[in-house]
């Protein structure tokens, strides 16, 4: 299923949260039964044949290049102010115009890709690692552990995620590290739920009984036997969460909880200049807004392709 829209809270919209039953009909759960051996190459071949995947990949590669070589590509220094030429409309010299301090908007958009492209994957990786470990333990150990942790996870999932993120960032002070940790921790129970569901489908299969009979320890069974078999589900979950992470990071930067000025950042630049919209300075916010939209859509195109390929 292509449940890109499933999540809790505003940064993460649309989880059919708090449904019936202890862990509910898991929102973004994908039970993909793919034999893991020989998957990578076949998957790649199928992916490369999908135009949606290619478009998404091209956009992401473009922004990654901007993030790495931004200062070299940008026509101006993104921090250089020319107060005499502030609020100028797009022109030959400044393709995207200049902002309230006379800084080149194009240069700020190019360089501003850096932080969102660092924070987003790191937060998602953190959440995926913690969520996978927790989900494996819940699904495999079962019993009282599953019950107690399950209840706590359910209670946490019932809270509006954006409010929790907001409270913690306000308390800890805005920084890239805070953003990574907070988003990672919010993703943990969501990912744990998906992983738990995937483990339950594996739990009674023969290879696990043989492993147990061979006397393998639980930790080894969880990470060496089960984990490789549920990798496709984790991969899909990872890409889905990546989409939300972009949404969340952009939103939190817009609210002032991310990168601090004067460092260029799409969300923060929009927040700084959107009052200029009333005066008609649309270029100052429209271009960073389109940059965010392009990144979000690119991630979702890739997620959608991976889901389609793995479930076909």
């Amino acid at each position: 299923m292509t449940d890109i829209t499933a999540d809790a809270g505003g940064a993460a919209p649309l989880e059919p949260g708090g449904s019936l039953g202890p862990l509910g009909p898991a929102g973004g759960t994908v039970a993909v039964a793919v034999p893991t051996a020989a998957v990578p190459r076949a998957v790649w071949r199928l992916l490369l044949r999908r135009p949606t995947f290619l478009i998404g990949a091209v956009i992401i590669v473009f922004w990654v290049v901007c993030a790495i070589f931004g200062h070299a590509i940008a026509p101006f220094n993104p921090l250089a102010q020319q107060l005499l030429f502030n609020n100028t409309a797009p022109s030959g010299a400044h393709w995207f115009g200049t902002d309230t301090l006379g800084r080149d908007v194009l240069s700020r958009v190019v360089v501003g890709s850096r932080d969102i492209l660092i924070v987003t994957p790191l937060a998602t990786i953190l959440g995926t690692i913690l969520g996978t470990a927790l989900g494996l333990a819940m699904g495999y150990l079962g019993g009282a552990f599953d019950l107690i942790v399950g209840r706590i996870v359910e209670a946490v999932l019932a809270l509006p995620a954006v409010i929790i993120a907001f409270l913690f960032i306000v308390a800890l002070g805005p920084s890239k590290t805070t953003l990574i940790i907070v988003i990672g921790l919010i993703f943990t129970p969501l990912i744990a739920r998906t992983v738990r569901a995937a483990v339950l489908t594996e739990r009674n299969l023969d290879y696990l009984s043989s492993a147990r009979l061979l006397g393998e320890r639980p930790l080894r069974i969880m990470f060496r036997e089960i984990l490789p078999n549920i990798m496709p589900a984790i991969l899909v979950e990872f890409t889905v969460r990546l989409g939300y992470a972009v949404f969340a990071v952009a939103t939190l930067s817009f609210l002032g909880f991310g990168v601090q000025p004067p460092t260029p950042d799409w969300g923060a630049d929009i927040a700084a200049d959107y009052s200029g919209l009333l005066a008609g300075y649309w270029w100052q916010v429209l271009f960073p807004a389109l940059a965010i939209a392009s990144l979000v859509i690119a991630v979702n195109l890739i997620t959608d392709s991976i889901e389609q390929v793995l479930s076909s």
């Binding site: 919209p13 989880e15 708090g18 809270l159 907001f166 913690f168 002070g173 952009a250 979000v296």
Partner: protein
């Protein structure tokens, strides 16, 4: 059934309790001293300590938590440090404003999402389906402030047909206020549309492929009758319950939209309170949101039970 409701209620209380803990302790580790924040940098240390003592913020954490919770249970939400008055009227006014905005968004998106999803299902795999599904998916993934800005540029700045702030000002007529809320509601509509349409689409496809639909077609009922009587009635069940669970998303969306359009709703209230470290206001606002959210989730579950007789028997509640 009774068992299920009891468990649901227990979980609600647990959720609210965890939320109260998070809210309270996050509020407490906020950097800054309330006494210092109120009196400013020039005040003497002893005056600050005096005020802290009057406010009760120098007591041990546990004592403060218990007295805060005790106050809440008695309907006392605390006193705002910035306004020097009870927070309750502020929270109530903001909540009413937010409910207006959210209600408008729902009124627009629910019929739109259902119609979109049903059309996509009836033309599954064809152009109409692809357009609805792909645009729904893309719109749902774009942050509200991004769509909000594009809308402001188009309708507020270029075409100048709609106001770009959400408040019409005091004394404005209902219609004027409604006009001001249209633009802020649309970003919320965009994010919700894809999800509702997706649920309606999935439900309709399932109903279309069912035996009862086949029977209805085979006994010669007109297509519209089959769709209205047999398909829609069954397909909209999961959609309706999903809509009720969307309040959680809406709350997050409201923080952003209210900030962008400068609307005095509960999202804006929390955001501003956090900025000036007004703990009492922040805590009351967040808890109010938590209560609304938990109640909406409960309503969704009850609705599902009411609409689906199979869940009423109490079997298979898990």
């Amino acid at each position: 059934m009774a068992m299920f409701l009891l468990r649901r209620l227990g979980l609600m209380i647990l959720t609210l309790w965890i939320l109260s803990l998070i809210v309270f302790f996050a509020g407490q580790i906020l950097p800054g001293d309330p006494g210092r924040a109120i009196l400013g940098n020039l005040a003497t240390q002893s005056a600050v300590q005096n005020l802290d003592h009057t406010l009760g913020v120098d007591r041990p954490l546990l004592t403060r938590y218990l007295s805060w919770i005790g106050g809440l249970l008695h309907g006392n939400f605390g006193t705002s440090y910035t306004y020097r008055s009870a927070v309750e009227p502020f929270v109530r006014a903001a909540l009413i404003n937010s409910v207006k905005l959210a209600a408008l968004a729902f009124v627009i998106v629910v019929p739109l999402g259902i119609i979109g999803g049903v059309i996509a299902a009836l033309y599954v795999g064809r152009a109409a389906d692809r357009i609805i599904s792909v645009s729904g998916l893309s719109l749902a993934a774009i942050p509200e402030f991004v769509t909000g800005i594009v809308l402001i540029v188009i309708f507020g700045v270029t075409l100048k047909v709609l106001p770009v702030t959400a408040s019409a000002g005091a004394g404005a007529g209902d219609f004027n206020q409604f006009r001001h809320l249209i633009l802020p509601a649309i970003p919320l509509v965009f994010v919700l549309f894809g999800y509702i349409a997706r649920m309606a689409r999935a439900g309709t496809i399932e109903a279309l492929n069912s035996d009862y639909t086949r029977t209805a077609i085979l006994k010669g009922l007109p297509r519209t009758t089959v769709i209205r009587r047999h398909v829609l009635r069954n397909s909209l069940l999961p959609t309706i319950t999903v809509i009720a669970t969307q309040t959680g998303y809406l709350i997050g969306g409201l923080v952003v939209v209210e900030d962008l359009f400068n609307y005095q709703g509960i999202g804006n209230l929390i955001f501003k309170a956090a900025g000036v470290k007004d703990f009492a206001m922040l805590e009351a606002g967040v808890l109010t949101i938590g209560v609304v959210y938990v109640l909406a989730t409960l309503a969704a579950d009850l609705l599902l039970i009411a609409l689906n007789p199979r869940l009423r028997t109490g079997a298979g509640n898990d």
